[in-house]
């Protein structure tokens, strides 16, 4: 029984990190007023870039950077198409997601990738703690970024001028504009952050969780990460909770099938994170106050 709990916990943390990394980036983008549908594409690109980079260079560290770069490339396109050329952010998001799926699948079939997997690093003593020890302190080492990244995001959004400007741009772009804040630039930059975080998330997925890239391996994880931000009511703490909760749902589904628990049918368990995200949106998300200018285009020439 304890072992089962350990398995479930361990995999919730592992899978939760995927959502967490991406959701943290999306949190920044949403505070600046963008719902970044292409997060899914950024995540997938990151997974592919990570695997490809690690395979080509033989170094997982460089692979991670390649993943982040891949996420950034998609975010660069998203940001400039939607917040420079002023094309609808959602349609750009859909197009880029489709493009990333197509491109990664195409290149995956054309290029041989042997990425290998980031190794595990158990922190002495801490990892001996019963139940939570292995889950938290015996992760693949990239997982430990999860201890740092939230603080980093919190600091840049809530403790810097840049963050203040980002928040103001998400709340009232025209007021920010007259205060001399470059609205579109801040929005673009926040999307770059989202892209890099999603790239990291993808690299973590392909290099730490599975150890290999596979076709369309993100499978909606980016969407769930977006839902985590909404679920978290556009607060950082809520976003983290949302991500870990959805990670738990995902892990529960997988682990219960592995453990052989078959009262709830497999397909239902597979749907868990999406179902939970939907239920979360129906219940908690609407109590929160969202950034007032969320999802609204801003055209400074008007």
């Amino acid at each position: 029984m304890i072992e089962d709990i350990e398995i479930i916990l361990e995999s919730s943390i592992r899978l939760g990190h995927i959502f967490l990394f991406a959701a943290l980036g999306e949190y920044v983008a949403e505070r600046a007023g963008t719902i970044n549908i292409s997060l899914e594409g950024m995540l997938l690109a990151g997974a592919f870039g990570g695997a490809l980079g690690a395979s080509e260079t033989g170094s997982p560290v460089l692979g991670i950077f390649a993943g982040i770069a891949a996420g950034f490339i998609i975010s660069y396109l998203q940001a400039n198409l939607s917040h420079r050329l002023n094309i609808d952010q959602f349609v750009v998001g859909i197009a880029l997601t489709v493009l990333s799926i197509g491109l990664t699948t195409f290149l995956f079939l054309e290029i041989k990738i042997y990425s290998g997997r980031i190794h595990e690093f158990a922190i002495p003593v801490l990892s001996e703690i019963p139940i939570i020890g292995t889950a938290l302190f015996a992760q693949r080492w990239l997982g430990y970024v999860a201890f740092v990244l939230p603080f980093f995001i919190w600091a840049i959004v809530h403790r810097t001028r840049w963050g203040l400007e980002v928040r103001s741009v998400g709340e009232d772009p025209s007021a920010a504009n007259v205060s001399g804040i470059p609205v579109l630039k801040r929005r673009r930059q926040s999307i770059y952050i989202a892209g890099m975080c999603a790239g990291l998330s993808g690299a973590y997925l392909s290099l730490a969780v599975t150890g290999a890239f596979s076709q369309n391996m993100s499978a909606g994880k980016g969407v769930v990460a977006i839902a985590a931000v909404l679920f978290g009511g556009w607060t950082l703490f809520g976003t983290i909770c949302g991500s870990l909760l959805f990670g738990f749902a995902d892990a529960l589904g997988l682990s219960l099938q592995i453990i052989g628990f078959n009262v709830i049918p497999g397909p239902v368990l597979d749907s868990m994170p999406y179902l939970l995200a939907l239920i979360g949106l129906l219940t908690i998300a609407n109590m929160a106050k969202k950034p007032a200018a969320l999802a609204e285009n801003f055209d400074p020439s008007d």
Partner: protein
Amino acid sequence: MSTLAENSNRRNDTISKLFGFFDDSNKLLFSVLLIACLAGGLFISGLLVAAVGGSPTKVLSSLIEGSFQTPGAFGRTLIEAVPLLLVSVGVIVSFKAGHYNIGTEGQVAIGALFATVVALQTPGPGWLVATLAVVAGFAGGAFWSGIAVAAYLWRRVDVMISTLLLTFIAPNVVLFAVSKDYLLLDTTDSNTRLASQSERIPSEKRLMEFEVFGQEIHLGFVAAIIISLLVTALLGKSVWGLRVRLLGSNFLTAKRYGVTQHREGATALLISGGFSGLAGGMIVMGSAFRLQNHIANDFGWDGLLSAIVARLSGYLALISSVFFAALRTGSSFLAATGVSRTITSVIQGLMVIAALMPAALLVVIYRSDSGKRIFKSGKKGELE
């Protein structure tokens, strides 16, 4: 001053936001840009092919060969175009109403599920069962989008996010149905390994097939074209259509004249989901003949893209859905060129971006100094 900033996902001026500033006076420039962008997209695809060591011209010729030239290929393309067209029309209806139903892939799957259930379990004359099954497909898709509608009306959950999440749930529902013997799992002797699929739909219950100019086509093809033309005409010319478009353009103005999210918004989304479901029904009844895992097979996604490439015009969707269908059928001929068939999804993505670019480029041109000189804007807003 906004007194009624509802806590909703208000999405005004959908069309201009999608396709930007469109001055009536510059249709020519716009068309030139559009064609240039589409060509640019194809060119980049060609570069990509060349980059992985393939031959762009060979890829192009095999795509054309596979989709139009070989015997029966054109018919196959047209049959593939049926679900794409239906999905596109549905997407157009919802986008025009200001709601982004982008969960079409899931709605196609559920539509296929509903159609299969009816087709396999309803006794009666074949043509009647086939019709009922297709209608059930519509109901299935509408039901699946209906969940998103309910979530929107009840709790203002963004339709875009909820339909997307539902899309990832739908395949699991289908998988569940086709893997349980008490549901749809094929338990006949032919399926000895109990693969996750339903029984085949008996041939008398399938959509009627006929031959035109040597191409095998089923009745759904005719139906799809009629339905899309009809819906497109209604959107443009009927009271319902105007009300739906009014809602997408300005929901407060709409409310003043009695157009509401509860009625027009919800029906637009239900119809939208219904068309995707109808597409699912057509797939089962017209080409797949059984329900399997992954029955939707990207038809939902491709239809969505095709609608955007058609710039939300129902008439242009007729063309773009055939184009997307050709990419699908043609891709099976790519094996000989040594280039992966997935190049077609890259082409699709690029085409969508290409279709969005001209409006943005127009803005850039207008704003640039030389653009200002050339196109002395005929529009004069007031000062201040």
